[in-house]
Symmetry: C2
Subunit: 432 residues, 2 copies
């Protein structure tokens, strides 16, 4: 099958973008029964984790389903930071319980990503590794429509409700990778800010830094027109920053500027701040899910994956972990110092959107890093990778984990290799 | 089936939004074969009108389909300003030629709307009037997925590639109405600015005014939270202005400010201006397709429908017509004078986005109308409904046609009745 007519063009002229339909607002999660009934669903599996189950939201969703004549069951076996093994367990459960004609994911990124995988593997033939991104898997495209999946985020962070990908650890290969295809995109994102009112301040802060990184990394990602032209069959989900992802990221940054600090410090009572933050999360997902993220997220993989004994406040204390939003943000100030020269105007504009009142610094490369540091200090994010247990001597062990994320590093607007990643990690041991 | 949990809320807290996936850029239209093959399509009908057929674009699309092993046929019988009769003829043709597993619409709003109807009526049981909006039709929801429809706009105007509705004249009832349902939304919008390079200046100007009205009417539409709370089964496609439609409309207005005049006056050579204008059209569709339009579009129905002998330059001279973009914009200055008090800040911000350098007028209600008048004069839009053949004595005959558009008038931020419409039409006989 040959390429395209415009075969004489050598630079990229095309970008792609997609987003799920959105139902947003207080009470939206009580309408899911209607929405899935409209999709023709009669028997639906609600997929969640035990922590979210305890909050009662999955059963509230199941009630909404039953009110519209839809049979609902709840699976609460989602594993935080899912893996090929935890995906397999969820798929096995779903298959053992008969056939489903719709799914609802209730929770953070782990629940939504697990539901995407369950939907894929119960709708299409083949096994997980057929669909996992190359080179880890075989990168096969699903060849038929999946069942309708409604995604209901309960944290304001990952934006997984907006994206067409899921992330997993492949345990045997000790690598974090994903599945990316437009068919994985939820049929509907139901975003109800009231579900986030009770998030602890520490979780609000960490998850919010994930939003910040999504928005700023996408906004500073390589411009789509600067890649080499791709044939249609070579196009990827992450096509670089573009006029549509910019819209969403800019708005997400403005919402963060307005409401992030209040959501952390007064979130239990401030519906407006919670509304802005979950809107920012969904909007950033509409952006980065198409543009892509770069160095901070690539570094986040080893920073979370090689954790020693860090136990963050506000999280369960039974196992060591670096929350995803901390892992991706701890190297962000230094990463944006590095990427600054490739797109100075974008870095400065991101800084202005995130902190409209910040004074102009003498060194423009320092503007965005300082805006991020001000924010991180105000909301209690640890001071660099040193504060979550890594010293300078750990850096050489972290670097290969970052370098494996070539799909993300390719989105960086400035070429980046081992040497640059080493320097960024070293300079991120302490951020202020 | 009962309502929802949040039944104690009396004001609306929920908005909805949806958009097709987008492939945008020079050469995008040569990739449609790949995209429809990904959707599993094997036999596809390309739907267009004779004017667009003569430009060669539909056959170029058919070639792209064949390169990916997809059988393609072309139907060029689309009627400009489609009706129940022209929809029926297109459906009859499609059905007589066997079964299709995908459609491509190539053209303006008429072709895209006709393809939506053909897709609906060849995918679902029942007849046209089952699906037409109440009270004209029975307002039934399609109960199954339609076939994938790829929409390829060739004018920068209607934004029909972005929306989940189609508009038609019901000839026997002499009324213009539509079908609105999320299943009608194209599976993919392929927006290729190079397809618009040869549009004549007059067509560029009229179609562009449709974009302006989409963006400004949506942006000034009643805020979604000011409607009474709806049960899920009562929600409509047009939910009022909201944070997502605002994003798209604001960007559309900025693109118009930058490039509309250049697209009209230098469009044959100015790829950048053409790119901005077709992006503005698609973006405005992403906005108004969810928020809704109000008085100017409601007036556009009788102004176009009751045409006497106006024959605009740049259009075929064989029949009298008021181009859609003229019909909807000729009463816009006066309509926005009327709606101003209901949302002054939004009207002023729209004026600033459309004309950042315009001086501030003493009367703020005059700012947006004057910005529109400056633009209309610069690009050669007729001076009011008087210039397309209507005098003051015609106004009483026009009013009922506007009043039939209650679905649109309900979106106006200020209550509007016959008296107000009469005054708006009278004051729009001459705009400057």
């Amino acid at each position: 099958m040959s390429g395209n007519h415009a075969g004489d063009l050598t630079e990229e002229t095309v970008f792609t973008w997609g987003a799920p339909p959105l139902k947003f607002g207080a009470g939206a999660c009580d309408e899911i029964g209607f929405d899935l009934a409209q999709h023709g669903a009669r028997r639906v599996l609600v997929i969640t984790d035990p922590g979210v189950l305890a909050l009662g939201i999955p059963h509230r969703v199941a009630d909404s389903l039953r009110r519209y004549g839809v049979t609902a069951e709840v699976f609460d076996g989602v594993h935080v930071e899912p893996s090929d093994a935890s995906f397999a367990a969820a798929v096995e459960y779903a298959e053992s319980q008969g056939s489903w004609d719709g799914f609802v994911a209730v929770g953070g990124g782990s629940s939504i990503d697990t539901a995407k995988a369950v939907n894929l593997l119960t709708s299409c033939p083949g096994e997980l590794m057929d669909y996992v991104n190359k080179p880890v898997g075989r990168g096969k495209a699903p060849d038929r429509p999946l069942k309708p999946l409604v995604a209901v985020p309960t944290t304001a962070g990952t934006g997984a409700e907006s994206t067409a990908m899921c992330v997993l650890d492949v345990l045997s290969m000790k690598v974090k990778t994903g599945i990316s295809h437009w068919r994985l995109r939820p049929a509907l994102a139901v975003v109800d800010p009231l579900l986030t009112m009770s998030l602890p301040p520490e979780v609000t802060a960490s998850a919010g830094m994930d939003i910040v990184c999504h928005a700023v990394e996408s906004y500073t990602a390589q411009w789509y027109g600067r890649f080499e032209r791709r044939a249609p069959e070579e196009r990827v989900t992450y096509c670089g920053s573009n006029p549509v992802s910019d819209l969403w990221c800019e708005k997400a940054m403005s919402l963060i500027a307005k409401s992030f600090r209040r959501a952390v410090h007064e979130g239990a009572d401030d519906v407006r701040a919670r509304t802005d933050m979950i809107m920012a999360a969904t909007f950033a997902g509409m952006g980065f899910g198409n543009a892509g993220v770069h160095i901070p997220h690539a570094n986040g993989y080893p920073v979370a994956g090689m954790v020693k004994d860090y136990r963050p406040r506000g999280y369960p204390q039974d196992e060591a972990m670096v929350p995803h939003g901390q892992a991706v943000s701890l190297t962000a100030p230094e990463a944006f110092r590095f990427s600054f020269p490739a797109a100075p105007e974008r870095h400065l504009r991101a800084a202005r959107l995130l902190a409209p009142d910040k004074e102009e610094l003498a060194d423009p490369a320092e503007q965005l890093p300082q805006v991020l540091i001000d924010l991180m200090r105000d909301i209690g994010i640890p001071n660099g990778i040193g504060a979550v247990g890594y010293g300078e001597s750990d850096v050489p062990a972290l670097v290969p984990g970052t370098m494996k994320q070539q799909r993300l590093l390719a989105t960086c607007p400035r070429p980046v290799g081992e040497e640059e990643i080493t320097r960024i990690l070293l300079n991120s041991v302490q951020n202020w």
